[in-house]
């Protein structure tokens, strides 16, 4: 359990949010051109980092907006929160 600073609503309990997995996975521009390996990479393969990871979250029980988060998965500490479309912060 931790607190998340929603960029639209402010600090709320994590239970109000839904995790949306790894961020910045770019949807293929030409899906018809993709090989099976590339599809597997896009659909299934995940970095699953132990340490600082970029993620998508949705404030489902609040404003219902999506945003990005930088979080240390080894101790659940949140490093930064930023809106969709914004550049990810550099360490």
């Amino acid at each position: 359990m931790f607190l998340i600073n929603c960029p639209f609503c402010g600090e709320r309990e994590q239970s109000e949010f839904k995790a949306g997995g790894e961020a910045h996975i770019v949807r293929p521009k030409q899906p018809t051109e993709l090989s099976d390996d590339e599809w597997a990479e896009y659909l299934f393969m995940r970095k699953n980092i132990k340490g600082v990871q970029f993620e998508r979250w949705n404030h489902v029980h609040g404003c219902r907006k999506w945003f990005n988060m930088v979080r240390d998965t080894s101790n659940d500490q949140i490093k930064a929160v930023y809106k969709m479309g914004e550049k990810p912060p550099v360490e």
Partner: protein, 417 residues
């Protein structure tokens, strides 16, 4: 040769106040080189080493474990064993394990306290009823014992369940696998460790893998906190940390590691003599031989390696437990903990070769790996020894995420993921 555990050895050691029992396994320093190294000293890893030595005559092998054996998910699960999975591939895999469980205590000369007390899965809505009936038929076609029970039969089998049709999620029926049950999780790790050690396997604890050395597409060894160990075959059975090890070899896996929680109550007299699981309300409960209720909760939906879960997950589980078992309303919970489980997109495991020669992965067991421990070890040992999968784990190769031939057990296995 180790002394056999028996009533006679127990009496003999009683005369020396149980102070002279020989160590169940040695605590060796790593050698320079092994024929194979297993990364991860949990149940699956130790079982793999045991079967490599026993069935494939690979005795110059080691198990490296970053903590102590059985200290990860092996000691953190809710010990449920069953094989009532929907698809043929899963049924084959899990029933293979269940058959080994049935003779495991004798084979290992170690009491793993396997108890076939039955596992009941409840249905709470019409779709559950259809799904569970379908799975019962599928199980029986695969030779797995399964029966469908109506509400009265559920009540008869486990009288403390609240079968009132006025509750939020009424019990509409359930399935029962009588051969299913529980086992003592620590004993499984200890029994396999003792058996493997006896055949010459080095079990090296407090030895964390820091890197995998490759020469092109072939492995050459592992860097550990106890130095470099040369080997041609590396079997990784690192559960929640599989992606971390894969990353060292430059591989990416289709896994997400998430906290899964469980909790136990204060011990009470025998009240529930089976295992009851409920997919829809996401709660499962059994009672340990010590008398504690063993309650499983769900996973959090975010990636975390912290071995801590959220309180709202536990709260949701206990809400469901109390509605189904009002008799537990005054029970106090003693302990709560989390383990990190590696979840595959299709909720089925990976027991497979990889694109790197000599590197094998056994991972992705997600929330339900304990039940498969003996079968997983047996099949992974076969895969490592022969560099080819056994027919029972051929479907669980890593390439299924490329070919699309998934073994989709999400929800289909009557299991709450």
């Amino acid at each position: 040769m180790k002394n056999k555990y028996s009533i006679f050895s127990l009496i003999k050691n009683a005369f020396s106040y149980h102070e002279n029992w020989e160590k169940a396994w040695k605590d060796p320093e790593p050698k320079k080189e092994y024929d194979a190294v297993i990364v991860g000293g949990g149940g699956h890893g130790l079982a793999t080493a045991y079967y490599l030595a026993k069935k494939h005559n690979m005795k110059n092998i080691a198990v490296v474990e970053k903590g102590w054996i059985g200290g990860g998910n092996t000691g953190r699960n809710t010990t449920i064993i069953r094989s009532n999975y929907l698809w043929d591939a899963s049924a084959g895999l899990y029933d293979h394990a269940l058959k080994i469980w049935e003779g495991l205590s004798q084979e290992l000369n170690y009491n793993v306290m396997f108890s076939q007390r039955g596992v009941m899965n409840l249905a709470h809505n019409l779709q559950d009823v259809r799904d569970l009936k379908r799975r019962t038929h599928a199980n029986r076609l695969n030779g797995i014992d399964a029966v469908y029970l109506n509400t009265e039969e559920v009540k008869k089998f486990c009288p403390i369940i609240n079968t009132s049709q006025d509750i939020r999620y009424p019990v509409l029926g359930g399935t029962l696998q009588k051969r299913a049950g529980t086992a003592r999780h620590d004993a499984v790790a200890w029994g396999y460790a003792r058996g493997a050690d006896e055949m010459g396997v080095d079990i090296i604890q407090n030895c964390e893998v820091k890197g995998i050395k490759r020469n092109g597409d072939t492995v050459e060894g592992i860097e550990t906190t106890k130095g470099f160990i040369k080997t041609k075959k590396i079997g990784v059975v690192a559960a929640g940390h599989s992606s971390v090890i894969a990353n060292m070899a430059g591989l990416k896996l289709p896994l997400e590691s998430k906290p899964l929680q469980a909790l136990v109550s204060e011990p009470v007299k025998p009240i529930i003599d089976t295992v009851v699981m409920s997919n829809a309300v996401h709660a499962y409960v059994s009672q340990s031989d010590k008398g504690e209720l063993v309650i499983g909760a769900g996973t959090d939906d975010y990636v975390s390696y912290s071995q801590k879960g959220s309180h709202d997950i536990v709260e949701g589980t206990l809400n469901a437990i109390l509605e189904l078992y009002p008799i537990f309303s005054r029970m106090r919970m003693l302990r709560q903990w989390g383990g990190i489980v590696d979840i595959c997109p299709d909720a089925s495991p990976i027991i497979s070769k990889t694109s790197i020669k000599g590197l094998y992965f056994n991972c992705g067991w997600g929330t339900g790996g304990f039940k498969a421990t003996p079968g997983s070890g047996d099949l992974f040992a076969h895969t490592i020894a022969n560099d080819e999968p056994h027919k029972l784990n051929a479907a669980f190769n890593i390439n299924r995420f490329v070919s699309g031939d998934l073994v989709d057990e999400h929800g289909a296995a009557a299991v709450a993921h």
